[in-house]
């Protein structure tokens, strides 16, 4: 799994590439929590994720709750078909703010 971070105004955009599973989700969790410290909004690009398991979904749920408790915004965009399927299987799709494109995700505030 590779993680890239860049700025778009006050928003931090985090891009994840590869597999998010029991072995890699702790790294993603650490990165997302650290990044959220430094911005009012975090947009996570999931387009290049080939595989995500329940530990990855649980990580996203944790980050969402953490962001809400600190009045910050956490949004997702670019869900790959594999990610969409796991979101539907776990019934979490409605819990997150999900956008198709980066532009839509950035304009969501």
């Amino acid at each position: 799994m590779k993680i890239y971070i860049r700025d778009a105004g006050e928003t931090k955009i985090v891009e994840v590439e590869g597999d998010v599973d029991l072995g890699t989700s702790p790294d993603l969790r650490r990165t997302l929590f650290d990044t959220l410290l430094h911005a009012p909004k975090l947009a996570l690009n999931l387009a290049a994720i080939r595989y995500i398991d329940s530990s990855g979904i649980a990580t996203l749920l944790e980050v969402l709750k953490h962001s809400q408790s600190r009045n910050k915004e956490f949004v997702l965009f670019g869900l790959s078909p594999a990610v969409q399927q796991v979101f539907h299987l776990t019934h979490v799709i409605r819990i997150f703010q999900v956008f198709q494109t980066e532009e839509e995700a950035l304009g969501s505030a």
Binding site: L22, I57, L64, V86, L89
Partner: protein, 142 residues
């Protein structure tokens, strides 16, 4: 396929180390495709078995990487049967629970996925170890 014909039968042994999960995932999806499932079903079956392995690593071996997990996938006349065997702590059946639908709590997701994807699931503590058996039927179109 008749009950007497040779069938696909894969056996793995892996350490209880999450670094090896991609190796197993890489074998399960092609196996499911060879039996006849389409791509979304192959992903779902792979995910369910990956979740079962992850549960063993986390709960039976408490994230220790030196445990042994044996995995057996067998094509059956009506689909697939998977058996996992480990020698860690036996599962507490009272604590094996799927999460509530659309709940925002992170726990129980893996068990929910396994039950949602597979047709039958059972856990059993045996003298040989903890045995997890799951089956999935292939729904053939007429």
């Amino acid at each position: 396929m008749t009950p007497d014909s040779p069938c696909l039968h894969l056996k793995f042994a892996m350490p209880s180390d999450a670094r090896y999960l991609p190796v197993v995932r890489g074998a399960i999806a092609p196996l499911a495709a060879a039996i006849g499932w389409d791509e979304p079903d192959c992903l779902a079956i792979t995910l369910a078995l990956d979740e079962a392995l992850a549960n063993i690593i986390r709960h039976a071996y408490h994230n220790r990487a030196d445990g042994l997990i044996e995995l057996e996938c067998r094509q059956s006349p009506d689909g697939l049967e998977v058996t996992l065997l480990d020698h860690g702590e036996a599962p507490d059946k009272t604590k094996i629970c799927a999460r509530a639908i659309a709940c925002d709590q992170p726990g129980g997701l893996g068990t929910h996925i396994i039950k949602e994807v597979m047709d039958t699931v059972s856990y059993q503590a045996t003298p040989a170890g903890n045995r997890f058996v799951a089956t999935k039927r292939l729904k053939r179109t007429p």
